[in-house]
Subunit: 405 residues, 2 copies
Amino acid sequence: MRLSTSFTKTFRDIDSSETAKNAQLLIRAGFIHKEMAGVYDFLPLGLRVLNNITEIIRRHMNTLGAEELSMTALQNPESWKKTGRWSDDAMDIWFKADLNAGGEVSFAPTHEEPLTNLMTKFIHSYKDLPVYAYQFQTKFRNELRAKSGILRTREFLMKDLYSFTTDEQSHQDFYKKVEQAYKDIFTELGLGDCTYQTFASGGAFSKYSHEFQTFLPVGEDTVYYNKDKSIVLNEEVLLPEVLEDLGVKREELESTTAAEVGNIFTLKYKFSTPLHLDYAKKSGGIETVFMGSYGIGVSRVMGVIVEKFADKKGLVWPENIAPYKYYLIPIGEKGTKAAEKLYKKDPDLYLYDDRDKKPGEKFADADLMGIPNRLVISDKTLEKNSAELTLRASGETSLIPLEKL
Amino acid sequence: MRLSTSFTKTFRDIDSSETAKNAQLLIRAGFIHKEMAGVYDFLPLGLRVLNNITEIIRRHMNTLGAEELSMTALQNPESWKKTGRWSDDAMDIWFKADLNAGGEVSFAPTHEEPLTNLMTKFIHSYKDLPVYAYQFQTKFRNELRAKSGILRTREFLMKDLYSFTTDEQSHQDFYKKVEQAYKDIFTELGLGDCTYQTFASGGAFSKYSHEFQTFLPVGEDTVYYNKDKSIVLNEEVLLPEVLEDLGVKREELESTTAAEVGNIFTLKYKFSTPLHLDYAKKSGGIETVFMGSYGIGVSRVMGVIVEKFADKKGLVWPENIAPYKYYLIPIGEKGTKAAEKLYKKDPDLYLYDDRDKKPGEKFADADLMGIPNRLVISDKTLEKNSAELTLRASGETSLIPLEKL
């Protein structure tokens, strides 16, 4: 991408109402725009990061044998009334509106009810199971507070996977595969060494669910951990019987703040019973479908990565999800000629700063935007038929022969 | 994709409340699911079609030099109040909700206001122009009636492109390029020979806008055309002065029904004036930015393609947007062995019907799903080391040597 023809711009100062570091930096670097509190547009560079995260997750979902679909944001109240979650007492983050044609409609805060209802058309027999279905879809939540930038917003992108199995054993087998897939995903996203599978409440139906928590100073959650025993648990299960169950004492646990980036949940029959998602058993008779759900907050993950890696100069993207691999800066006439040639070979590899600006400004923007590799081509580097490569994360500099690029 | 492990199912009969042919067939073939009137989920096969249409349009947008972004569905009322469109009198299809934090919010029926407002942060000087920005984004419209399947829904996917230029001449140059891009897009989508650029009202600010109308028996619009003069115009501009302007007489026009699949619009200063989107001119002084907008209804296009090509056996997808190129049916043990081998070479090419069903049922499903090429491998075809290829559109059959696949 040529910066000279992109509307992307960086900003020195932004609206002081934005207090979260992740949003401040993403706005300053031209990756997102604030539509209103808790609502952010994704600009070309930000959208590329989001798409890169999405692609990594999608690949792992497909490897699990899950099928991608796309549910609507608009939801029929019927299925929510059957599970008892339609009232504002049961869920306090509803966005609802009246239909001009009569009746009410909601804007998806989550999709368990409509997907379970949908599956009653597709699942009738043990032969139809298991079903694994996932989507990348926008969720709407009428949050009272929105102060954490893209970590907690009123509209956000989520990957949600749901499993439908004949029984608990088949469920557990799949659940374990998803655990592993999540670990692989967070490793690929660059969060492997600071993200932990965490015991959380299973609600009324399961003993535990699991969250994936990234240790982070600005995280909204508090978790308790013991590194030797590889145990992390969240506040809601910090109870004597749980500690006994896990074989750890309260005084062996340290606490830290963390951001929840994913969760996996054994739903059992919570939705399939009230929505009558049943199947004919092989041995005869009717059984209720066993369900699980598995979420990753895609835009939240992006915010967590910003918080985790950014430094005082700006953003720092892990190579796997960076919008471009290289930030290309030409200096002088010969440098420009060589840079143009390089850029045209593969425009998708370079954020090419061909603007009429001083090198110092370009260096500052390269740092602010957090592109992992900065390439400078000048008379001096061309004398050695090379470009100067500087790694954003470490600041390490080296000369790279042009033919190697 | 293996049908044996997919939750995709076909249906003989569906809910009689669904009266539109496109939705009836898409539901029967397992491509979409009806959440409620005018609201449809896209299932794995339907999502693949939608993504294929999206990719074709995206490629043409990028060739135009436009940049992709993603605006939110939630919208701040402020910019809408400035243009006078916030009231229900100005727009009768609003979905609005109260924020728990106080104030109101809308669910995007369109994005002119928020994008124009966004651009006031990025456009300050003639040096920042032109800007071409587009997105694929969901629109919400509180339609009173929803009887046309996915041709007119309360929630739909739209590609919207916006141009920001210094003056009318630069706008016209870009507008012409978009005209050509749209013709190329509809040709690539298989609608080239039945989609016409149509004169429509330019509203209060321009003489004309242009729609792209696909002639279609169930289309909601009526258009008037003269094939010899290559003139098509819609009902709202069927006026003496327009006919004189275009050099055609009323009696030279025939009428037909059509579905609007795209529109391109010279907005002039309609949004940039009230939202103060100005720029510093090269010659000094301040000027208002000149705007245009260019839409394509992505999910509507999918519905139009269904209506246009489907026959009594079911869907018929043009090869460019089909979810899979081949529907693969094995017959007998040897046939299954050969089909497995073929499938594993490139699983993304085949909808592989490895279900335990009779060939006749598989033939019927292949027809209903509308996959463009049906491949049957049996003892008989293997005698000639071949597969039997049947084209869905024409029914033509031939033997294809396996090594050519």
